[in-house]
């Protein structure tokens, strides 16, 4: 029997932004409903207002942001008119929330058990004994090992996935009717993400909860959503059942987003690059040692363990693997940003390992890098022009020549010439990443290491940047080492894929081979965990 009042009804909600922001409303005229037992996914690009709605429901907006109109009805009662004390009573009891960053969302100085028990404590639920029992029960329920000892642990001892499980346990403590999850898996590895998604879905089914799930990943939507709300710049552009929105998107914005979802092109085969090897890595070793003292053994991490591969001109090698598998370290070793413990890195036959920094510096121009974070990789105090000319000038190119080159590069990466005199903060993430690429190209490199170069970007922007990179690579015949944790992306752009696991390359080969016939157990697990594998976005927008 369907209840007459929906679990959650957001009715015409608008939240005004203070003066001086890029737009007037953070969210405008939002309306949607969530029924018990349903998962409603809110998708959209960064800044589209997804978190804002969630925070408005929980009454967690910063003090200077106030909903200017509308109602948020939870089981028929308007949350927006409740006092802080009344709201506090509802939070955790009728509606709970979990957040994106599992580390910072837990109090570092309280044990996880205490933090879970606190929910019950502040709502006057049970006595100390019963709460303890409930904590154990919850920890067990969310699939954490050894609850009896784990509850005395501090959050920093837990892995990201475990912390997120603790958050979920906390949210479930009082069996609320509704759960809000704000990008709960974005910070996690794909394999962990798959487990957490599975957990949420399981609980939701078992308890008949309503879940408001915020994500920017259509793959995740495809895996769990019953209903979907698509947001753009504070407005809802499309909503409907998951099937409708995913497979028959109507609004152009939705279509564009879906088209940009990376998806391995399983049919395409690529020509083997031939010719002289540009870079040969042989038995590379890199071990981090940290801590350790008189009585304790140091923490030893074999970040790169006996890695070998060959790269030719114009070739793209995808390096994939989960967090901590040593991908970045490999990239850093090749660029001599860190010392190497053993092995060889032969560039055009010359071993780079024994070179001193000073001896290597003149060679740096051939080996360049595109960084992950478009915000952090550009010096905020320098103009784009300065950023682009610094490299050539450091390599002895005269200033005027470097400037001319910089302007050419701006055109090459599709930026306006006026960008030359502007500062990084005046650009969007995608534009900044173009600057980053231009900087790497300014020195006419032969090898480019791209470490998670598109991970921080929204899918639509990510697609554009990937296109640009592929374009330029063909044009300039550069070899690329493309580091990513997203197999889908790697499969889309690379000629070869190397899967790293605990510092070693466990499997390598052309994308189709790796995808369709993974040999190593780890690769198999990785591929199984890709969200939305059974959904083909290409078909949806075809």
């Amino acid at each position: 029997m369907k209840p007459t009042t929906p679990l959650l009804k957001v009715d015409n909600l608008s939240i005004e932004l203070p003066a001086g922001f890029d737009r007037k409303y953070a969210v405008e005229n939002l309306s949607y409903t969530l029924e018990a037992g349903e998962i409603l996914c809110v998708v959209g690009e960064s800044g589209s207002g997804k978190s804002m709605t969630a925070n408005a429901i929980m009454g967690l907006l910063p003090s200077y942001l106030k909903p200017s109109s509308g109602r948020v009805l939870l089981q028929g009662r308007d949350l927006l008119v409740m006092s802080e004390a009344e709201l506090a009573r509802e939070r955790g009891r009728t509606v709970s929330m979990i957040f994106q960053e599992p580390l910072s969302a837990l109090n570092p100085l309280m044990t996880v058990g205490e933090q879970i028990a606190e929910v019950m404590l502040v709502h006057g639920e049970g006595d100390a004994r019963s709460r303890d029992e409930r904590v154990l029960e919850l920890l067990d329920y969310v699939g954490l090992p050894d609850p009896a000892s784990l509850r005395h642990s501090y959050p920093f001892r837990l892995s990201g996935g475990q912390r997120q499980r603790v958050m979920i346990a906390m949210a479930l403590a009082l069996e609320p009717a509704m759960l809000i999850a704000d990008e709960p898996t974005t910070a996690l590895d794909v394999t962990t993400q798959a487990q957490i998604l599975e957990l949420i879905r399981r609980i939701q089914r078992a308890k008949g909860m309503g879940v408001l799930f915020i994500t920017h990943d259509f793959g995740v939507v495809a895996d769990i959503a019953d209903k979907v709300v698509v947001m753009e710049k504070g407005l809802i552009v499309e909503q409907g059942t998951a099937d409708d929105v995913l497979n028959r998107p109507q609004h152009p914005y939705t279509r564009r987003l879906i088209a940009a979802v990376p998806h391995p092109d399983e049919s395409a085969t690529r020509a083997e690059a031939a010719g002289e090897p540009l870079l040969e890595v042989r038995n590379l070793q890199k071990t981090y040692r940290s801590g350790g003292g008189l009585f304790t053994r140091p923490r030893i991490v074999k970040a790169v363990d006996d890695v070998s591969f060959t790269l030719r001109r114009g070739e793209t090698l995808g390096v994939v693997g989960e967090s901590g598998s040593g991908k970045s370290t490999l990239g850093r070793c090749i660029l001599k940003l860190t010392d190497v413990d053993g092995g060889q890195i032969r560039y055009r036959g010359k071993d780079l390992v024994p070179l001193s920094q000073a001896a290597f510096r003149p060679m740096r121009r051939h080996l360049q890098m595109v960084f992950q974070d478009p915000f952090a990789s550009l010096n905020p105090r320098h103009t784009i022009g300065r950023i682009l000319t610094d490299g050539p000038v450091a390599n002895g190119v005269p200033m005027d020549e470097a400037q001319k080159k910089a302007r050419d590069l701006l055109a090459l990466v599709g930026l306006d010439p006026s960008a030359y005199d502007r500062y990084p903060h005046e650009f969007s993430g995608g534009q900044r990443q173009r600057v980053g690429i231009a900087r790497a190209l300014a020195l006419d490199p032969e090898l480019l290491v791209a470490d998670e170069s598109v991970s921080a970007l929204d899918v639509s922007v990510q697609a554009q940047v990937l296109d640009l990179m592929q374009d330029l690579q063909k044009k300039l015949d550069i070899a690329v080492i493309f580091i990513t944790h997203d197999l889908r992306v790697a499969a889309e752009v690379c000629d070869k894929i190397a899967v790293m696991y605990r510092g070693a390359i466990v499997e390598a080969g052309p994308p189709a081979e790796v995808f369709n016939a993974p040999r190593h157990a780890y690769t198999q697990k990785l591929i199984a965990a890709i969200p939305g594998r059974h959904w083909n976005p290409r078909a949806a927008v075809a």
């Binding site: 740096r364 121009r365 974070d373 952090a376 550009l378 010096n379 320098h382 490299g391």
Partner: protein
């Protein structure tokens, strides 16, 4: 510029700036306002404030004009405050930058060295330095600088440590810039705002330290300073309160103003802290 606008939104910071401007003007205009040396007795000894309109803040026991002393004292306080801070900042930035950028053994060595200085109480050290090199404006300025650089070094080291692993610094390495160049052009400009904020507060502290030194009789005897005026008159607090109250207020107001400015700079330079003020 949005920095100026942000700064201007802070009422306290504006008041501080206004006060400091007045103090600076008084310091600059001292020789015009009071052409006779502030050491020269000009009136009856020990005139109270407003007893003689020519000496609105009164005179001391040698008949010297307190108002003139305060005007000239502003020069000394500001001079010592600014120069000692500048020297301390230069030392601190140099050592902190080297330690933070190169890390490892260089860092260890420099930080140990810094620790030596931090383990000795700053004021005690300043007293010893000034006494040993006999009090004059140079030794006082240097002594204050020598005891105030360690916090700067630590701050800069921290900044450099975190900035050097930032991607834009890595990018500079990758394009082949040399270490010193990276430090100077990539990292330093990004570490400058906490340095400026700290420096502004150090000026305030330096003024206090100078006055404390003077109070202990370790001031420059040829320079009229506020601390000296208080130190010289402290035993007469009950007979001639104006001798120590006016310079005391001058120190308080100036240091307060500089602190307000420092806070204003801090808020304006670190936008992420905005919205904190009630």
């Amino acid at each position: 510029m949005s920095f100026l606008r942000r700064y201007a939104q802070n009422v306290g910071a504006l008041i501080g700036l206004a006060i400091l401007v007045v103090v600076v003007l008084v310091a600059l205009a001292a020789p015009v306002l009071y052409p006779v040396s502030p050491w020269q007795g000009v009136g009856e000894p020990l005139l109270g404030p407003f007893e003689d309109p020519a000496y609105p803040l009164g005179t001391d026991l040698l008949g010297r004009d307190i108002a003139a002393g305060i005007a000239y004292g502003a020069r000394v306080s500001l001079l010592i405050g600014i120069i000692s801070t500048a020297v301390a900042v230069v030392i601190g930035v140099a050592l902190g930058a080297l330690a933070g950028f190169y890390g490892g053994r260089v860092d260890d060595m420099l930080m140990r060295f810094t620790e030596f200085f931090q383990t000795i109480p700053a004021f005690a050290m300043a007293v010893v330095l000034v006494a040993i090199f006999s009090p004059n404006i140079t030794s006082i300025t240097l002594a204050i600088a020598v005891v105030s650089w360690p916090p700067v070094a630590r701050l800069v080291r921290g900044e450099f440590l975190s900035l050097r692993s930032r991607e834009f610094v890595q990018a500079a390495v990758v394009v082949g810039q040399t270490g010193p160049r990276i430090m100077a052009t990539q990292i330093l400009p990004n570490a400058i705002s906490p340095i400026i904020v700290t420096a502004s507060l150090m000026v305030a502290t330096a003024i206090l330290t100078e006055s404390s030194l003077s109070f202990l009789g370790l001031g420059d005897r040829n320079m009229m300073s506020w601390g000296f005026m208080i130190g010289a008159a402290r035993t007469m607090l009950r007979e001639a309160w104006w001798l120590s109250v006016f310079p005391g207020v001058a120190i308080l107001v100036t240091v307060l103003a500089i602190n307000l400015i420092g806070e204003g700079l801090n808020d304006a330079m670190n936008p992420h802290l905005r919205g904190r003020k009630g």
